[in-house]
Symmetry: none
Subunit: 125 residues, 2 copies
Amino acid sequence: MSDRVPILRIGENLLVSIQIDLDDQTVMNLQEDLAAQVVKYGARGVVIDITAAEIVDSFVGRMLSTIASVSRLLDAETVVVGMRPAVAITLVELGLSLGGVRTALNLEQGLAILAKRASAGAAGR
Amino acid sequence: MSDRVPILRIGENLLVSIQIDLDDQTVMNLQEDLAAQVVKYGARGVVIDITAAEIVDSFVGRMLSTIASVSRLLDAETVVVGMRPAVAITLVELGLSLGGVRTALNLEQGLAILAKRASAGAAGR
């Protein structure tokens, strides 16, 4: 049986911390769980913390892109935080520049980006 | 004979609720009817509610993109509301990220987005 990656709620945002090695089924489960929770809670943002990921291959890179695209379709923004320098280099070498994905140095800054966007949206209402 | 999808007016916006299985002719009719009504009523926004759509294939995905592009050319913004998590995942897997299409969780939020834009536009005039 595959592991499931836990998804935490912080206010209007969902937080996923990637800590285990991800096999295909775990990634599929994560994508489905995340999409379901974005809709269920009307989440405005998704933070994916990859601090614990020493290695990010093209499989995980594509997962990050897919999660960002799915979340955008569900009206939530994705921020990837905690990327190691070596991981960034690997992703670019793999040709995965994560076009539509916002990044931030750490969790605090990631949440700040989402809060800023939320208040900008609210101010205009 | 093909069905026609009803188009409702709510203030400055048009609302389409996708509830039936769409064949090619119905989609063509909908695109034409919608474009005609956007011009006729000077609509500022188009809301497409796909809550009732359990499955969205590439055909319907492309329709959403086309309607958004046509409406934009006629100076109306399109918001797709009520997308199910599974539908969002399918669209991304099909490579249809609906680039130019704004999404919202439900009809209320979709109308709020259009109202916000309308007031922002009015303030800037």
